[in-house]
């Protein structure tokens, strides 16, 4: 089974965000970059499927700059076999459709039996690239999987929907996006880290399709006025409820 996993490198969730001089993107200095947490679930799931089958191939695919390789190496250290970096400038907050097109162009000839991705990238918060990829390839998409079972040429996924959960199924090849809870990603072992350095990582130049949107400005969230601690213990409960009703007017 050949499994392609779409992996994006993103700033660590703890990273302090400083807006760069262009006023449209972040200053990458001092930012630690990591694999998108949802993509870690996708990599782990691919490895589990390969291990359960006793054979197979896991390929990680990234659209990003030259410096996006560490996340791919991390995936390889976890156990992925190889990687393809579609090298493009300014991919971090690029139009999702352009990124999906670049991925689709590569995936269409790879002969993948399954494509895994994260439900969203925590930098741009797009929630779109993987679903678009499926649509562009005319393949079924099973988003936000909390469990995945592959059997008899079908993928079956359980996912949360508003007010409950549902089980959905589609024929493979298809695209599945990972939600938290799908699995517990493994930590790369030292041996894996050593091996990862020698695994094939192909770099291809691509140019992203012209974007339909333009970033005008990046700004910090509006500063909220300092909150106030109204007191200690249950004695102030009634005062709080009054404030919520009369001052904040939220009750």
């Amino acid at each position: 089974m050949k499994i392609v996993v779409c992996v994006k490198q993103v700033p660590d969730t703890e990273a302090k965000i400083v807006i760069g001089n262009d006023g449209k993107s972040i200053d990458p200095a001092d930012v630690k970059y990591v694999m998108n947490p949802y993509d870690e679930f996708a990599v782990e799931e691919a490895l589990k499927i390969k291990e359960a089958n006793g054979e197979g191939e896991v390929i990680v695919l990234t659209v990003g700059g030259e410096d996006a390789q560490p996340a791919m190496r991390t995936a390889m250290a976890m156990g992925a076999d190889s990687g393809v970096l579609l090298k493009a400038e300014q991919a971090e907050l690029a139009d999702g459709l352009s990124v999906a097109k670049a991925l689709a162009n590569e995936v269409k000839d790879m002969g993948a039996d399954l494509i895994l991705a994260g439900k969203m990238a925590i930098d741009g918060y797009g929630h779109q690239v993987a679903v678009m990829l499926g649509e562009l390839l005319d393949l079924p998409v099973l988003p936000t999987a909390k469990s995945l079972e592959i059997a008899d040429g079908k993928a079956t996924v359980v996912r949360d929907i508003e007010g409950g959960k549902e089980t959905v199924t589609a024929a493979t090849p298809c695209i599945v996006t990972a939600e938290k809870g799908l699995n517990e990603p493994r930590y790369p072992a030292l041996k894996g880290i050593m091996q990862a350095k020698r695994k094939p990582l192909e770099i291809k130049d691509v140019s992203l399709a012209e974007e339909g949107i333009e970033i005008l400005e990046m700004s910090y969230p509006p500063k909220k006025p300092e909150g106030r601690i109204i007191g200690e213990g249950p004695e102030v409960a009634a005062e709080l409820i009054k404030l919520l009703r009369d001052e904040a007017q939220v009750l």
Binding site: T13, K16, I17, I26, Y38, G96, L97, I122, D123, G124, Y125, G126, H127, Q128, V131, M132, E135, L139, P140, T144, K146, D160, I161, E162, G163, G164, K165, E166, T167, V168, T169, A170, A171, K180, G181, E211, G212, I213, L216, M218, S219, Y220, P221, K224, G227, R228, I229, I230, G231, E232, G233, P234, A237, A238, L240, I241, L244, A248, V250, L251
Partner: protein, 321 residues
């Protein structure tokens, strides 16, 4: 200028955020002298058209078919694509709900359109739409201009006001040509709970590691029921197995923006804040006066939640009747 809003419904009930989307669509249409189209997709939903026009729809496009009763991504997206193409609408507006997230991306790919998700503000700059949306878990915002149409946007629930405004609501039925789907739903299990959904709730009471165990959530639930609120949790509580993942608020959980968010026994880690910092009013109850949650809270009480939360519940019952 035409705008198309998809009005999400389940089981014949319009979602509260569908009304928010229609109202925002109306506002945008009015600002340019444009027309607002609203699409309804489902089965036995024709009577929702009146409700939709009461919020300002000029035209209501209804795809009513037994085969569309439950959400079918492929079929719904194809219908929206057809409506978008035929109407020539320049902006399609959905919601960043579970359904809207998937549908918007499918629609955008079909229509070769860009997609701007989780929008919290919209305005016109001449005839370009400019939107504001959070990035980096709410640590920054982007102002983005739409350069090419059609473009798809999804609005964050609970951010835009829903307001009634009579519209002409001319109803037009469309017959879907193909309701086949590559994805089959084989089972749906709904929780029966009288509490509102987290992403739709106006008030949320959330409990974290400070709850100390699953059995103690009754104090949170009692306050939630008095306030008509949903119950949320931190990841620490979810990872401990005290609450289902569906209740998790934060970066790897749900993004919520209720009018009131009450955080009990939650320290306020950056990943938790990512999911709730856009709430209009935040209350924190924590024994530790140094807990970071107090930095983002509008009101705080330092104290043991097992004493404070029941007292809040009693006060709420007394004062709100």
């Amino acid at each position: 200028m035409k705008l198309l809003v998809f009005a999400e419904q389940r089981e014949g009930q319009l979602k509260s955020y569908a009304l928010e989307a229609i109202s925002e669509g109306r506002r945008l249409a009015d600002a340019t002298g444009g027309t607002l189209l609203v699409a309804l997709i489902g089965s036995g939903i024709s009577d929702l058209a009146d409700q939709v026009s009461a919020y300002g729809a000029d035209e209501v496009v209804v795809a009513d078919d037994a085969g569309l009763k439950s959400y079918a991504p492929g079929a719904y997206a194809r219908i929206l694509k057809e409506v978008l193409a035929e109407s020539g609408a320049s902006i399609a507006i959905l919601t960043s709900s579970a359904m809207g997230r998937e549908l918007s991306a499918l629609l955008a790919a079909k229509a070769d359109a860009s997609l701007l998700s989780d929008v919290v503000e919209t305005q016109w700059d001449g005839d370009h739409l400019v939107v504001k949306r959070p990035v980096y878990a709410g640590k920054a915002f982007l102002k983005v201009a739409v350069k090419r149409t059609p473009t798809v946007v999804t609005l964050r629930p609970n951010v835009f006001a829903a307001a009634e405004k009579a519209g002409s609501g001319v109803v037009q039925s469309v017959t879907p040509s193909d309701i086949g789907s590559k994805v089959q739903v084989i089972d749906t299990a709904m929780k029966d709970s009288d509490r509102p959904e987290l992403t739709e709730a106006g008030v949320i009471v959330s409990g974290g590691r400070g709850m100390g165990g699953p059995e103690h959530y009754t104090v949170i639930e009692e306050l939630a029921d008095t306030l008509g609120a949903a119950v949320g949790a931190s990841r620490a509580a979810v990872d401990a197995g005290w609450r289902p993942h569906a209740d998790q608020v934060g970066q790897t959980g749900k993004t919520v923006s209720p009018n009131l968010y009450i955080a009990c026994g939650i320290s306020g880690a950056i990943q938790h804040l990512a999911g709730m910092s856009s709430s209009k009013c935040i209350v924190a109850v924590n024994t530790d006066p140094e807990a970071p949650i107090f930095k983002v809270a509008d009101y705080g009480i330092v104290g043991d939640l097992f004493e404070v939360v029941p007292a809040l519940n009693n006060a709420a019952k007394d004062l709100l009747g």
